[in-house]
Symmetry: C2
Subunit: 297 residues, 2 copies
């Protein structure tokens, strides 16, 4: 199957899983409608579902069928979506548009956006704690520990903090790489590791997959910076040229566009090389690395 | 041992456990110092540690030593502290003072407060996922599931949402009880259930403890409302008479002070009665119910 079709099919399955998680028939549903509405708006309004795709496809590498990886995949997406809601807040990046629509605090209000983010983060762990996610409690515990570590103060949240601080302090290339490794990389790496946890992968396999994910995550961010520098706001779905306007250090401002493209190709090769232990079964993950490098939105 | 001394001894043990969780020797520590500092400020700045106390003392009912319940107890406190940080934000309750000191967004800034809250919530699940918390992964998974359910959109976060909405809509007694059951009650109930999970308590025991916790949680909130109505700001450590000033429906505004006191005594009896299956071993939990009803700060 064509990679784009595979990604799209996974997106639809993940969207259905997320919609199921955010459905509520309880009596409270009416009064909690604004909160539930904001949570659905934050999660169901588009997005490539690239992180869930990595969970599903890495799990598939170990023979786990898509249906058995979807709950964990949806949990990762909940964390990604909560981080977007909070990062967009006026006190943070102050963004009005996301995925071509008003951000959650614009469509609802700030209090609802803060709470919807909190609730999505919490929901992710509720999903990972459920026996339906995986019958083995050790697998569930490992998923919880991994997601919390990747998403917390020494992972994604820490990265967002460093990113905010970097707006006021000069940052070199090493600093930008460190920020991105935490802010974007940690959750991408966990997505891949989650697939290995679901697939009962061993330590050596996890190490190879972590190398793949780290190269992929950095490539993802450089591609994002290139889109910001060169992309069209309508196509990207959010404001572009924002980094240059803010004077913030990025791969592009530090390396220039040409060297960034070279780095991107190196990371693609590194990611693909990390999968050498696998045969054709890893082709989808190899395609994913090519997709990240070539993406246009 | 005297109840106040027991509570104080537990508070010190919980403070030490929280301080340990928030210690970081990693290289990142320097750059993440503002975030780590806000997390420590939010968790280590006082507080009775009543929820951790419930975890520890309910676990003790099943013979679990304090040291083996402290990690789960600290995780519950992380969730409680994160909720205070976010609830105090300008977009939410807009409070400047908490526990006698400036709130986190006043002492730091709004972005740091949002991120510190997010990080504390995430840290709670990281702690629950760690094998050190309990060697049995099923226990860890149950703790995660229970905390996430109690803390999420159908628990504490939902309660805060309903509480914000109630500022603009008339609320009757049933509505106030429902809001408090979610906003405060859910986490108090989970604290008790967490002790039962750590102690491998059965379904019947958990049901009795849940009844105890629900009466206790409601009593806790009525006592809080009485403190708001009658307490001295310096003693309580935050602004008082705030509810009356905002015109918000509370137990006091709906029932009056005298009937609220009667209700409080009824709830105390209900909580104590729920513990009838236990002998003297449950005396500390019985004392906790009396403490909640009599507290002055």
């Amino acid at each position: 199957m064509d990679f784009a079709l595979k990604l799209e099919a996974c997106r639809q399955a993940v969207d259905a899983a997320l919609a199921g998680l955010l459905e509520s028939k309880s009596a409270e549903a009416t009064q909690l409608a604004p909160l539930a509405g904001a949570m659905r708006y934050a999660t169901l309004g588009g997005g490539k579902r690239f992180r869930p795709f990595l969970v599903v496809e890495t799990a598939a590498l170990f023979g786990v069928p898509q249906a058995k990886a979807l709950a964990a995949a949806a949990a990762v997406e909940c964390v990604h979506c909560y981080s977007l809601v909070h990062d967009d807040l006026p006190a943070m990046d102050d963004d009005d548009m996301r995925r071509g629509r008003p951000t959650v605090h614009k469509a609802f209000d700030e209090a609802t956006a803060i709470l919807a983010g909190d609730a999505l983060l919490t929901l992710a762990f509720e999903v990972l704690g459920r026996p339906e996610t995986d019958p083995d409690p050790l697998v569930r515990s490992e998923l919880v520990l991994g997601l919390a570590h990747a998403g917390g103060w020494q992972g994604m949240v820490g990265g967002q903090m460093l990113d905010l601080l970097a707006e006021h302090t000069p940052t070199d290339l090493e600093g930008v790489i460190r920020i991105e490794a935490l802010k974007t990389g940690a959750l991408i790496e966990f997505s891949v590791i989650a697939g290995a946890i679901l697939g009962r992968g061993g330590a050596v396999e996890r190490q190879a997959l972590a190398r793949y994910a780290r190269a992929l995550g950095l490539a993802f961010q450089i591609a994002d910076d290139l889109l910001d520098a060169e992309g069209d706001a309508a196509e990207v779905g959010k404001a572009t040229a924002k980094d240059a306007a803010s004077g913030k250090a990025t791969f592009i401002s530090l390396l220039g566009i040409e060297a960034s493209r070279v780095k991107l190709k190196e990371l693609e090769a590194e990611a693909i090389g990390a999968l050498d232990a696998w045969d054709g079964r890893a082709d989808v993950l190899r395609e994913a690395a090519r997709f990240v490098v070539q993406r246009r939105s």
